[in-house]
Symmetry: C2
Subunit: 429 residues, 2 copies
């Protein structure tokens, strides 16, 4: 990728409208731009990161036997009236009529659509279990969209749904999802906790976990035990001093499960796994044949990840004064190649050779081949935050290239062959 | 992929609501289901084909230096009033107000959003040309959605936009797109023609081509010369007998450009490339600095492909009485492995070995491991239309597997090693 041909509109100043570090850096590094409150365009570098995250999620979902499908955003509101959620969602649910005066909603989630699908297409226990997921655009008309991608009105989600005839089947998939979520967030380079939680508007009385990225900007409050690993969302948290009443926990209270003391930390909700039970299949009157010849409502689980928000959470945890510091697996490119002076033929030739060799080895290279001053290039590279930077400057005459990691900022002088060997060992496909 | 764990609800009967062959087969093979008129869920096999098509499009777009971005579906209608298209679109443009009474539209295309973006982020000729594309869900409230994915209300499109300071730059990108479109449709296994066309509601007075899949069900009429390669949409077609007036051509009329005679055929519009000129940049008052220090409206091209419709067009051209016959590059899997009797331990063992070896070699295998009668499995396989079928049946005792191609239906008995060698030579990654 040649930077001269890309739209990467970096900003020197911190935009006044952005409070959160991730929002500031997404704007400053030219990753996103706002179209309306809570509604964004992902520019090429931002979209590359989204694609990396999507690939990780797909790999982990496929590995546990989930199959991808794709449901529409436009949903007839009849389905929402059937499930009982039409009233629950109020102004957050975007509604409109089509040209024939039929009412539609833009889906914030897809429990209704998928439950109706299963009701139509599945008739017997023999066809279950089924685990289905999609990566799809969601809509929620937030009263106060804010913090950039952390709370938007149009955003990308992975939502998965599972259908089972028995609790054991649901428990099995729920556990698989729990572990898959750990893998996903770990591969995305996140510090996170899985916490016990309330089920909220999605409903169901069963077990639920929220996956929280630890971050001061987070809108959620997490209670965490320093000894036994107990962690819960504040609404769901208990302590000895709180006398077992949910939500009455203070910093330093004692854990109900061990001798430890409790800490209160802030988190960004990345994902959520629910045991929904029969809430939807009962409301929508879905019955399947059991192996005893009777009829039964299948039981459901649902499993979401906010992908746009995940992208922002990665930045909240991975940045410094100069800009973003991408974890390797989700960086918009593996290597940022910077040619200090494009007018210098030696530098240009060496850069071209390096660009070609790395690209042919499967390494993703962003080449800053712009006619800009070195200071501008270095500042942009710090902002953009690609893990490895290769600088072709005056040392090119001696066949030397600067190798620098974004995180450490240490510089090593290396030959082209040494660099190609080092980088391809890490990044080749 | 094990078929027992997937949602592939095949239908024996032709659904009464489906007229077009592609619509019938997409429903019968369990690839899509309707949620509302013109609005569909892509089931796992259907979505796999969509992903294959998307990958081909991305490769061809990236190869000509286009960069992927992602714009929102929700667009403030102020932008549409600026461009003058707010009135043009009438009832087809889905409009609604958010909770703060601000009006939005669900984008049928993105000229307004991207032109506004370029106006905000680009200031000088030095930053052009830019070629940007997205693969994104579009909305058009058709008065008569029909033929399944051929004319839907929510559908997937690739839309690309290019920005230039001079006509030569636009011409260059337009030509690159013209060739990239040929590659895309060819790799998708389509018979198509590029035809001269009118520019319609998108606007602009410049050159435009439509890419038409040849198919009887097509809603467009194409005039084509049997000798010189001249081809045009009927509204844009001329003949000697029609005295050079657009649209007055009859079968057998004579070509204006050579001695040939004209044929009238039907086509499905797959894609469209336009030279838009300054229609949008002028209306939206976008000015960039030229290399002479003056200001100028950049000139634009736009380039669309209807991906959902493309999927349907492939089926219109590639099916027989029994079902779909997928071209190799867009098939939902490379191989359909069918175990005739899952209770037969020899068949089961040989199937498992074959499944594992092929999968490990990078071949995509759909394994029909269901407890179903052989007739059901064979009929479903014909419907689903995966190019190569491997049948593990009674001959398994002699270590033999039936190898059959969907197109020819010829059967060859082969050993496991022979099959693995043959298939991996064609399909390994």
């Amino acid at each position: 990728m040649k930077q001269s041909m890309m739209l990467i509109p970096t900003l020197r100043e911190v935009p006044a409208e952005a409070e959160a570090a991730s929002h500031q850096l997404l704007l400053r590094s030219g990753f996103i731009r706002q179209v309306a409150a809570g509604i964004y365009t992902y520019l090429p570098l931002g979209w590359r990161v989204m694609e990396k995250i999507k690939r990780i999620i797909r790999q982990e979902m496929n590995a546990i036997g989930a199959h991808e499908l794709h449901m529409p955003a436009m949903q007839p509101t009849e389905l929402w009236k059937l499930s009982g959620r039409y009233e629950v969602y109020e102004a957050e649910l975007i509604r409109f009529e089509d040209r024939h005066k039929r009412e539609f909603a833009l889906g914030p989630t897809h429990e209704e659509v998928i439950t109706a699908l299963i009701g139509e297409e599945v008739s017997s226990y023999r066809e279950l279990p089924l685990v289905l997921y999609q990566i799809q655009t969601k809509y929620r008309d937030e009263s106060r969209p804010r913090y950039g991608l952390l709370r938007g009105r149009e955003f990308l989600m992975k939502d998965a749904y599972s259908f089972h005839m028995d609790q054991e089947g649901l428990d099995h998939t729920f556990t698989s999802m729990y572990h898959a979520y750990h893998s996903i967030f770990k591969r995305c380079g996140l510090q996170f906790r899985a916490v016990e939680a309330d089920s909220g508007a999605i409903g169901g009385d069963g077990e639920t976990f929220e996956f929280m990225a630890l971050a001061e900007i987070g809108e959620d409050t997490i209670v965490s035990c320093d000894q036994c690993g107990y962690a819960a969302n504040m609404e769901r948290a208990e302590s000895r001093e709180g006398k077992g009443v949910y939500g009455q926990v203070k910093e330093g209270d004692h854990c109900l499960k061990c001798e430890g003391s409790l800490t209160i930390i802030r988190g960004i909700e990345l994902g959520h796994i629910f045991k929904l039970g029969t809430k939807y299949t009962e409301a929508m009157q879905i019955n399947l044949l059991t192996n005893e010849g009777t009829q039964q409502h299948p039981i459901m689980g649902c499993y979401g990840i906010g992908i746009s928000r995940l992208l922002a959470a990665i930045i909240e945890q991975n940045h410094d004064q100069q800009g973003i510091v991408w974890p390797a697996h989700v960086a918009p490119a593996d290597v940022h190649l910077i040619t200090v002076s494009m007018q210098d033929q030696v530098q240009l030739d060496l850069s071209e050779q390096l660009y070609r060799q790395l690209t042919e080895s499967g390494v993703e290279v962003l080449w800053d081949n712009r006619m800009e001053r070195p200071g501008v290039k270095f500042n942009d590279a710090d902002l953009i935050g690609i893990p490895i930077r290769l600088i072709v400057g005056k040392q090119a005459e001696q066949g030397r290239i600067e190798y620098r990691e974004r995180l450490s900022q240490d510089t090593i002088l290396m030959t082209l062959d040494e660099i190609v060997e080092r980088v391809t060992n890490n990044y080749s496909v």
